[in-house]
Symmetry: C2
Subunit: 381 residues, 2 copies
Amino acid sequence: MEDTLLMIPGPTTVPKRVLDAMAQPITNHRGALYGEILDETTAMMSEVFQTDNKSYLLTGSGTSAMEAAIANIVEKGDKVINVVGGKFGERLQQLTEVFGGESIEVTVPWGQAADPAEIKRVMEENDDAKALTMIHNESSTAVVNPIKEVGEIMKDYDTLFVVDTVSSLAGDNVQVDGYGLDICLSGSQKCIAAPPGMSAITVSDDAWNVIDKVNSPTYYLDMKKMRKSGEKSQTPYTPSVSMTYAMREALSMVLEEGLDNRIKRHHTGAEATRTAAKALGLELFAREGDYSNTLTGIYLPEGVSDSQLRGTMRDKYQIELAGGQDDLKGKIFRIGHMGITGLHELSMTFTCLEMTLKEFGFEFEAGSSIANLQEAYLKNM
Amino acid sequence: MEDTLLMIPGPTTVPKRVLDAMAQPITNHRGALYGEILDETTAMMSEVFQTDNKSYLLTGSGTSAMEAAIANIVEKGDKVINVVGGKFGERLQQLTEVFGGESIEVTVPWGQAADPAEIKRVMEENDDAKALTMIHNESSTAVVNPIKEVGEIMKDYDTLFVVDTVSSLAGDNVQVDGYGLDICLSGSQKCIAAPPGMSAITVSDDAWNVIDKVNSPTYYLDMKKMRKSGEKSQTPYTPSVSMTYAMREALSMVLEEGLDNRIKRHHTGAEATRTAAKALGLELFAREGDYSNTLTGIYLPEGVSDSQLRGTMRDKYQIELAGGQDDLKGKIFRIGHMGITGLHELSMTFTCLEMTLKEFGFEFEAGSSIANLQEAYLKNM
């Protein structure tokens, strides 16, 4: 293998087709050619978001889109409900507070999905809240949240439904219009399999009505400016031209595969990972039924440290796994199965994970994780 | 010629070496390898800034670095002196106001450089100002401002000196430590000749002392977080890994050429452009002596419209020139001579500009601009 295999929850392996597209010569970002490429790319973005709304590309990581989502709707004193069950839920809460919002936290234990009944209860008590924020796929805990069910509840309220799909879009079910998401944001380097450095956001008419009345301190991420420039097939400030090329190519690959096929492939990869891990006696971190479809969190088995397990995988076998974040550091490790990652990459990963665990004295039947992996794939073929 | 030649003030033509570096496979942005690449790149950035201070890379265009420079030092009610002589000077003023600062404007006529004596006078009256902002190279007017002389004045005051060198760094004289610049920012896609989408900022100890006391609403561009992550050879949020590769390669090329040689080459290109334009009877926009060394603004001669001149250059000759911005739209056009652009690109540009002007009935001795161009280069070889 030439390069280290990225089995982390983003950035993921980028197809050569996308890298080659990115390396094409730069064009004038104010010229007609760039305008065509931008329009084509944002149209594909909307198709992947499954929305008739316009989408916007931001030259910045997912966090910049998270900030855009909050800064453009939250003013001092605004009540915002933040569903917090992991590091990224916390980030939307921090952003709410940075922009002067009064956060009402729906606390979800790390490793569990939010409970729609609890959200319904909080909404009933706070129907004057300006927005409710939720992470679709909480990659810090490898949990997927029920945005479809929460979307149903939110239809009874004027409160905006703001959803981060950075680590789920193009790998799990996200229907912006179908679920009633008012603001939905995502990143380039996860299931879309482009390099990091670009993010995307789409905004409903209801959300635009709010944005038009808000005047919080934001400039680079000002959505009103994005809308105005978007009408001229431009961005307000110089965009990453190369990343636009990369996104166009990566989104083309998503649509060539077919969004539904790609999502099904991610689901299969997730199921295969879980069943392969269980064959080795490993315990999953997330609560059963709340499992993410794009990455899997696994408890570090007793008797091996994080640096031993991931260090061996990295240094001996050139496979990069992710550790736990914040309180989960040293307690879990995470396997990303996103983007173009599938059977082949998971077979390498579990082959080498078996060898690593054997090295540290664990006992199981050699090849058993691979047998389970095969079974999961065959069942879904 | 395979591609359209970019003779605009950024993005500039990116060398194949840099495009190839950008297209390398993605590495884990939290891994040791990325840390090494980031440290190497920011060290080169500091070398080009000519400072002992640490530099930081931002995944965002130059405007994101402008916002970082302001948002991290300006709080509601702070007095900030904005030197405004063009579109980018205005942008720093707008940012000051977005973050609640009270702007004291030093108005400079478009096409002229700021007068250090005037700035000294304003500083004497406003020695309690928190910062003074200035654009080194105002690309909207093709004017260079006297940052060295203003830096001398600013040494007598506690007021921070904030300088935007987006379109000058690596193409004109910028000595962050030598001139006493407290905050200096730049972009990837101008004289450094990397693709657009990344910017850089460096911060003095005095500026850090201010930043540590300020708590303006900023998150993605929070410098305190950048410093903290920088200590671990990381960025606070997922960076553009590909653009970091590109910047490392582009900065290596700057240092291989030698910073002084590169600056001298830009000065020669500017002189050659001016003298070539004059041979065709064209009139320069900027006041004599205030000419930018990285781009040249030229009045559209009477009898040809902007769309005729630049349209012909683009459609018939595949050479992209820039128009005027805001009030200067339809009045001037601009030729960028930045990055790797030099004798060869200027010879193509003036050859085709002569043909374009002839097409619209202008009279001059064919080849005269080229003769002047050659002379300017020979004199400086």
